[in-house]
Symmetry: C2
């Protein structure tokens, strides 16, 4: 099998010149390029991936940083990211931050050391985003504003919050509770927080009392949500509408049914995310569905675009959400 | 900060000699070793990780190959593997095989090229395991017999099948159905298949009719299971006991409730795996719980042991399962 040395010899140039042509980096005269191309054709040379990586100084690895791979939303997201990266010839490295701030920064170091070619940030822990600013390497954020140089992929959470509120209002809710992170000092505010704000605004416009309680960071611990749901029903026995993310809403449904509450007659529920997790519940839960696979594909497209030097990459992408009507709200 | 060059100069040896001492590979005279150690101490030299990796020719990456990261069992497994690897200083690379046979072999190549230091195989696609035989590199299998040189980590599926059968028998089942892969020509038989065999044997010993139907490979597609459950109830309206993996059993519970069947009175259910997914169901499902976190920790311990040259590694590990009683069988 022909090697890059063979190609260089055949074209009467140095190996470095062949490498520059292969990698597309650095200037090489058109005449020389043609000679190299001819040598490549005549020798039937295929640069092997390892060699390509060495020339490109690429690892062909993209890291995906999420709070917890085990959480249904991130499990689906990471799975779709891996599939999309694989198709483009990249391996996927994963990292659970488990809400440890240091992990994010550790991965920035891996990026600087060229041990990974790019990062998709789906974790939201480090408040200090100044270190992202000047890194000038391929990064894409999921639901996170990391400064104007770093593209952000997100769902249309404003639309999502509105859809959820309107589904509960149409079902006749008079007293609603939503669980969502709101601005506090030690947490990072992400574009996804807008849904809680919009939800509360829509309720207010309709003069419907609406409480917003601070939720925990997403965890994959079903028992945690079950306990939380029981507590909430004790504290707020009079609510007739409830809005939160999938695992919390599913737990609320189970707790309500266990208490003999009729759903949706006495309690209406809308879940946010629409992961496969709500497929486990009966009756079927009404949900605002994030386009997880498309978010993943877009994130991959943008990070690989940066890695491979595509100058026309978008800066921020917002994808629409959809409402999937189940039996925990009124059917239209 | 001192570099390896500084150490070499200080000890009057070549960089290669320092490298041999640091990596523990190759012979270096004791006197020279002592001089190098002294230089390291005097210069307060800490080999940085990148440099160490180059000497050791390690990537500090372990790949985890699973059918689909999005599936609850594998999401929990991969998440726990990442946490355990991270603690030992390794990054986690993931790969969904989506049941493509080629992926397994592709990762064997990454291993040979030293782009990953080890592999945890949780996918079960390639029948031809001869390529694993002589690879002599760090590999650990989850629920898979890859030959006597490759350690296998698994749950005690024999015990699990027995527990499930006995829970249904104690609940008074007279006509049971289990969904499980059985031996067919184009599939890989794994140690986990023993549970179906044992389940059927226990039923037979109690003279209880038991059908075993071939299941699909695990997928994270809730809609698939919902359709399957409806079809099964149509085809087998007379069953009063059902045993399958989590997603299938949850779907069966939903389908039965939608038909107005009383659970557990008319239909008893036992799920296998006990992932967080069954936490979404009401009433609570009785489950044989695999020790997923411990399986992950054991797999990591065995693969890192091989990477770091621990000769005392175990060959095969079988961890106990437990029965978590819910409300889909009789309470004891």
């Amino acid at each position: 099998m022909a090697t890059i040395q063979d190609v260089a010899k055949h074209a009467h140039v140095g190996v470095g010149t062949v490498s520059r042509v292969l990698s597309g980096n650095g200037y090489v005269k058109q005449e020389t390029r043609d000679r190299i191309q001819q040598a490549i054709d005549e020798l039937d040379y295929t640069p092997n991936q390892m060699a390509r990586n060495l020339f490109f100084s690429r690892s062909q690895i993209v890291a995906v940083i999420v709070p917890e791979v085990g959480h249904p939303f991130f499990a689906q997201f990471v799975s779709a990211v891996e599939a999309a990266l694989c198709e483009k010839g990249y391996q996927t490295m994963i990292c659970n931050t488990y809400y440890e701030k240091n992990y994010e920064l550790r991965y920035l170091d891996l990026l600087k050391q060229k041990r990974v070619d790019g990062i998709i940030f789906g974790a939201h822990t480090t408040q200090d985003i100044s270190r992202y600013k000047d890194i000038k390497r391929p990064i894409v954020a999921l639901d996170r504003d990391l400064g104007e140089d770093i593209p952000c992929v997100m769902a249309d959470h404003e639309l999502g919050g509105r859809m959820a509120a309107e589904a509960l209002i149409r079902s006749g809710c008079q007293n609603v509770l939503q669980i969502g992170s709101t601005e506090t000092t030690d947490k990072v505010v992400t574009p996804s927080h807008i849904r809680y704000k919009v939800f509360a605004e829509v309720m207010e416009a309709h003069h419907i009392p609406c409480r917003t309680l601070e939720g925990k960071w997403p965890t994959a611990d079903a028992a945690f949500y079950q306990k939380e749901a029981k507590d909430l029903l004790l504290r707020f026995p009079d609510i007739d509408g409830f809005f939160a993310t999938d695992m919390m809403v599913v737990a609320m449904l189970c707790a309500a049914l266990a208490q003999g509450k009729r759903v949706p007659k006495e309690l209406k529920l809308v879940a946010y995310d629409g992961t496969y997790y709500i497929g486990a519940a009966y009756p079927q839960i009404t949900a605002v569905v994030q386009p997880i696979a498309q978010l993943a594909e877009k994130a991959v497209q943008l990070v690989v675009g940066q890695i491979e030097g595509d100058p026309a990459g978008e800066k921020s992408v917002r994808l629409p959400v959809s409402l999937c009507l189940g039996d925990t709200t009124a059917r239209e």
